[in-house]
Amino acid sequence: MGFEKFGEISYTAETKVADFVKHLEEGEIAATKCKACGKLYFPPRADCIDCLTDDMEWIPLSGRGKLITYTTAYFAPAGFEAPYTLALAELEEGVRVFTRMSKDAKQDEIEIGMKVKLVPVRLADERITFELKNT
């Protein structure tokens, strides 16, 4: 349990990486790291795809990164309000994140290559998610 609080709509309560939400609530973006080979996973995975083991530890990320690409969508599925911007960024630890860009980011300010920061965001009803802000 725990993961039911994640995002606008969560389709699952059970996941082996539910602690991710606990870290978000503590203001932290966390990745999992394989204790054997050191590979970092974000979004966090419970198992290492190289070592085929589940001996992982939680590692806080700086959240700092660079925007690789983005799109602003003018049609929205459930839980999204159009228009919204989706972004792909590379964090300085080397992992990538695909998520929403903060609504505070103005369209003419968003630029490929710009510095971004991944931060936890509290939603209504004690729900929580994360998004990218331009810094």
Partner: protein
């Protein structure tokens, strides 16, 4: 769906769906059906005077998550499927006379040119500018209008692409006939580039 001739202005003035793609950059959902008759060599020769042969097959998958992909300007499943099909058929990209590629969006067609080796990386757009993908060009692509023109009935699209290539290799494509096409290629993508299938055909 969009079979009437249009202008660049009209396309650029259409509503944005997901920037920078606009309505006319996106293929329309459609209903449709397609059918392919497959037979072994003996039977094919018996039931048809003009059988078209599958010379190469390639199928590959890729990570679902965009964060697990090395690039967003290429579909690795298409590159791998293309390599497999070319190898099986003993062909190179420049041996292909006519091709059908999965242009679910305008940019997807340009990525397909590059993934299949019709041009170098980053030069896909120029291939269109120079009319090399037109009938009479170096590598005519989607001469039937592609998904953008026909619409995209998901399950039927691949079969429809094969139909186009079969007609081309038989010389039965009428107004859209590409000279004396001997080698054809079909490129089809599933999901958000999760799986790619490439087939080559000969006569």
């Amino acid at each position: 769906m969009y079979q009437k001739e249009t202008t660049v202005e009209k396309v650029m003035d259409s509503k944005v769906v997901a920037s920078p793609l606009k309505v006319f950059d996106c293929c329309a959902n459609a209903d449709g059906a397609s059918c392919i008759i497959l037979a072994n060599e003996d039977l094919a020769k018996k039931i048809s005077d003009t059988p078209v042969w599958i010379t190469g097959l390639g199928l590959a998958s890729a990570p679902l998550s965009l964060t697990s992909r090395k690039t967003v300007s290429s579909l690795s499943c298409a590159v791998e499927a293309g390599k497999q099909a070319y190898k099986m058929a003993g062909l190179k990209a420049n041996d292909v006379d006519v091709a059908e590629v999965h242009d679910c969006f305008t940019i997807a067609e340009i990525m397909a040119y590059e993934d299949l080796g019709f041009c170098k990386r980053g030069e896909g757009g120029r291939l269109v500018d120079n009319k090399e993908t037109y009938i009479g060009g170096k590598i005519p692509v989607n001469v039937d209008g592609g998904l953008l023109s026909k619409g995209h009935p998901i399950g039927a699209t691949g079969g429809s692409q094969i139909r186009t290539i079969v007609l081309q290799l038989r010389g039965e494509a009428g107004k859209t006939q590409v000279g004396n096409a001997e080698t054809g290629l079909v490129h089809n993508i599933g999901g958000i580039g999760l799986y790619g299938a490439v087939m080559t055909f000969g006569r």
